[in-house]
Symmetry: C2
Subunit: 235 residues, 2 copies
């Protein structure tokens, strides 16, 4: 009974989608954070108050947009994960493919990226929905780490020895929580890679790389490979 698709229900879903589409369009040309309900309403030829039949507040609309963005990102990333895995590549190569997809998405969806990662939108607070969406995207990283461990690509013992006791303990706590076979050293390594990936993209998007290296997938690639090399056994 959740999917009683009467005419009205379909119409409602359509308008909802149309609102979000107009919201994205507005943000794309004026930057996120200046999303104006009245503007969207004007654009759609309806009264501002009518929007409140679809989203309880501006924050709720933003939340829906953020969740959609996460979903779009997660979908693309997951797709490459599956495809690269099916092609029989090892976990590190799959990770590189996923990372490049991640970066490509960020570059071609700057508004979405900003909406997801720019701390502190005006007056906006994260909600459980967005946290859940974020977690799903994080899950792939965990999965990749487990794959790499299973494939013997990570020198687990050596990495483990580089951690100090308190850090190793934090890792162990989280590893239990994932339910995967994740030694502390491997988990730390995956965090290192995550940091490189996110940092390189973030700096690039914010224009904080010197001009000649801006928008350079090669720099991104080299940074990630450098970090991966640090995880391999045959040092």
């Amino acid at each position: 009974m959740a999917e009683m698709t009467t005419h009205r229900h379909r119409r409602r879903a359509e308008t909802e989608a149309e609102i979000k589409a107009h919201a994205w369009a507005a943000m794309r040309e004026s930057g996120p954070a200046v999303l104006s309900l009245r503007h969207v309403a004007r654009e759609m030829g309806m009264a501002p108050s009518a929007l409140y039949r679809y989203f309880a507040s501006r924050n709720d609309l933003l939340t829906a947009l953020i969740v959609d963005a996460y979903e779009s990102l997660g979908e693309q990333v997951n797709e490459t994960y599956v495809r690269a895995g099916a092609a029989g590549q090892n976990a590190f190569e799959v990770f590189m493919a996923v990372a490049h997809t991640y970066r490509g998405w960020a570059m071609s969806h700057r508004t979405e990226w900003a909406l997801i990662f720019s701390t502190s939108l005006p007056d906006y607070n994260g909600t459980p929905e967005t946290y859940a969406a974020a977690g799903r995207s994080f899950g792939i990283l965990i999965q990749l780490t487990a794959d790499a461990v299973a494939g013997g690509l990570i020198d687990v013992d050596r990495l483990d020895r580089t951690l100090d006791d308190k850090l190793r303990e934090s890792m162990r706590v989280w590893a239990e929580h994932t339910g995967q076979e994740l030694p502390a050293g491997a988990l730390a390594g995956s965090m290192w890679c995550y940091s490189v990936m996110h940092g390189a993209i973030s700096l690039d998007l914010n224009g904080q790389f010197p001009p000649p290296m801006a928008d350079s997938p090669a720099l991104f690639d080299s940074a990630l490979r450098a970090m991966l090399a640090q995880l391999t056994p045959t040092d």
Copy 2:
């Protein structure tokens, strides 16, 4: 004649500082991006329009705040650079000290960090002043790279060979621009480290590390050391 410090001039500087102080206070408790001129004015017991004698617009006030934030960051970072250098540590250890200062500043100045790095504040566009301020902070990284090269800490040739031709060329272009002795490989390595540093801080601040590893200087430290290890000659 620029520093004719008449009574009026001093008063003016004071009010200007007071405005900024109130602005910071407001942002600290309501998040950045919701900075309201009227609120600041109310807090100071003056008419909203009076603020316009000090800052031509909300954007101008934001710019001043950002520049101040950069200056605060740059000052702290530079201080550790000087102190650690004077203590006779090698370039890598100095870098680690600088990185920890950087991270510490970010943690204790979340509002400032958000103001500097969160892309797309509502309606705010970067200005030459902020770019100049950013460049000054970037300069230390370049200096550290040069120090490391001079100290023979970086396996310049090996790193150089890992770069593909186009990337090496971009690096060379920028290296010339710095006026320092910076081989392409070393410059790439410094970008890798910059990415790790920024990424780890950014993820941590945005709460995108799993809870047990949140706010962990040790994880930050291990990630950076892993990347540094990738630069050393005695592989």
